[in-house]
Symmetry: C2
Subunit: 430 residues, 2 copies
Amino acid sequence: MKRFAIQGAYLILSPHEILKDKYLIIEGTKISDITDKLPKDITEVLGGPHDIVMPGLINTHTHAAMSLFRGFADDLPLMTWLNEKIFPAEAKFVDEEFVYMGTLLAAWEMVRSGTTAFCDGYFFEDHVAKAAKEVGIRVWLGEGILDFPTPYIKDPSTTIEAVRAHIERWKNDQLVKTTVFPHATYTCAPKLLQKAYALAEEYDLIYQIHLSETAGEVSQVKEKHYKSPVEHLDSLGCLSERTLAAHCVALSEHDIEILAKRGVSVAHNAESNMKLASGIAPIPEMLEAGINISIGTDGCASNNNLDMIGEISTVAKLHKVAKMDATVIDAPTALSFATINGAKALRFDGGTLHKGAPADVVVLDGSAPNMVPVHNPVSSVVYSANGPNVKDVVINGKVIVKNAKATTIDEEAMLKEWRKIEKKLNHSLI
Amino acid sequence: MKRFAIQGAYLILSPHEILKDKYLIIEGTKISDITDKLPKDITEVLGGPHDIVMPGLINTHTHAAMSLFRGFADDLPLMTWLNEKIFPAEAKFVDEEFVYMGTLLAAWEMVRSGTTAFCDGYFFEDHVAKAAKEVGIRVWLGEGILDFPTPYIKDPSTTIEAVRAHIERWKNDQLVKTTVFPHATYTCAPKLLQKAYALAEEYDLIYQIHLSETAGEVSQVKEKHYKSPVEHLDSLGCLSERTLAAHCVALSEHDIEILAKRGVSVAHNAESNMKLASGIAPIPEMLEAGINISIGTDGCASNNNLDMIGEISTVAKLHKVAKMDATVIDAPTALSFATINGAKALRFDGGTLHKGAPADVVVLDGSAPNMVPVHNPVSSVVYSANGPNVKDVVINGKVIVKNAKATTIDEEAMLKEWRKIEKKLNHSLI
């Protein structure tokens, strides 16, 4: 088995366990040891004496292929943005090739900025898997389930069977896992939500859904079902520890109680919620209630990047000012959201650098101007760092980024392909 | 005179004037032309066919030397942070060498992330100037004026004369300008505020001051002077177009009216205000009143980096969610804050790439993963980019950063020096 080491001035095993001047030893796909000195038989060493080594970041909610829509519609009211820009563009452009090329671009950006796993939700998810595997990033797929036809599933009466077939295709993959992804309570009828949940139970999968993203959504669902989206989903029996709810912005106290009681995990998308003026999710209240909080970037049409380090920093600062209390969500808490809590949300045994954990590791350049000096490495990651400070990335024991270059894709050749798509989209969209 | 070109897929002359596929021609210290083709006599070309070329960013409020305190005190209530951490650390460590080394570090970080000018406020400002000149960044100095002794001015009765002497020393410098910097209305008696203002008038300089940073400050000043800090400063005759007020978080409608009427410029420090839980400055209201809004990062003890691109992005998103309106502060407005408005605040003729403007230019790598594709270059800068996307930086016609390396400092040699300080500080602080 291949064996190599990663040297760090600091090893952040988890946000509250930091070791100084160590070597992390990787063997096969796992972290096998942590040593003071470099074992004599090891010749390959990543990192260096000034770098910060930490668990790979886990993005629990995104729509990777939307990277190709980055920056084509901003500063618009939510409904104008969705109905006049995003939906028409998706109807016009989203096909297998678009999803494959967009996910490749997204996966390139993600690994280059320290993300080692992401939970996706879009269409043609087999092509998301194909792109993710090529780049070497872990993915949890979510083929979009809606009441109406999707770019992938033309006949809604075949939805569950189409998703079942998709799940079957990826049953034995090491990097690719599937989820069941009904879009939202306002786009899926109660029966569909329940059928999807039964499918998730049958295959023991995550059930991911957009939930209470805006006050408007809550009103709409209340008008139809006389319940909040959370109450509605709970009454259908679709909330449990397998449920991963994205956004959760417009929640009542009762909603928070329900989410806590059911053991639901939340994907907090702070920057998307800010940019689309959806609101500020009550994260401190959810934490207080014991809910597992993870972080998502959302798609690039609403953020507009996939930089988890930037997102962590925003999360830590946003809730301080929202609560007018500088002690709210301290640096270790924010970093937990993006690592161990993300792993928990996806029922994945990673998110730390403990011995025996999957070797998903990120090295941050400790000699970048914004990273000097280091008084507290967790603070450096949360408040000082940015995506491009990531120097090396290991996923499942494989070196995916080395010296800020992706090893698994030909960046220059791919750029030419993305330029062609950029040109085509520019001509049509603007 | 030296003549060279910068090629861009997009030239952002100003946030609403964008040219496609051009060459920016620089001659001496100025932008001399914009051409479709590369002039035959020019052999040196920065940028490239996919890059975004824009005006250098202007940071109108920081305390550069505090870069050395990056990350040593976070997640604390404001007064604990200030009284138990920052003030004791400053008393113990801040001397000429500290300021020089800290400003070198800050200037390195600033130029590497696209900042070409900054307005500083600290102590031993002659050493800020020395460091800024070595790196080649424009600076507006602000020697701290307070009622009590400072690390630089031991005897407060000599303050105005000491600052006058400092101003005289930098009267004829091209890159270094001075300002008059009374710290705040709660640390300077009315007479001192007025004497400082008279000095600013005498030398025709910017008068910069921390103003209404928190509700606590407003209460304190009201208790003593029966006026808000803005009203107080206005009653002393210290508000005019030469006044640059930092923070302006806790403002009444009447305060906003006064600031607008007097033509005061504001330095908005969104991330610092978030991290210290000071509040959200009423920027949309100030804009509506016609106030010139610029952007500052504040010092690294409260942010914790000097990345203006990150700050612009936060500003654009924060006010959207604060107002629950996605159309508030669109991308061009946010970019204006950090360029042309910053120039106006400092009474500097830069901030655009128009012919004849000072050659302060930034090139962003259009082939970085988070920058592909470009549908709208201003959106790409505001919502997708981050500091390290900056490839090349020109200040006053001189190439200061080339291919993401500072040309004016020996990064490796300096890192060794900063490590020594890091070690000394770590031993003493933690």
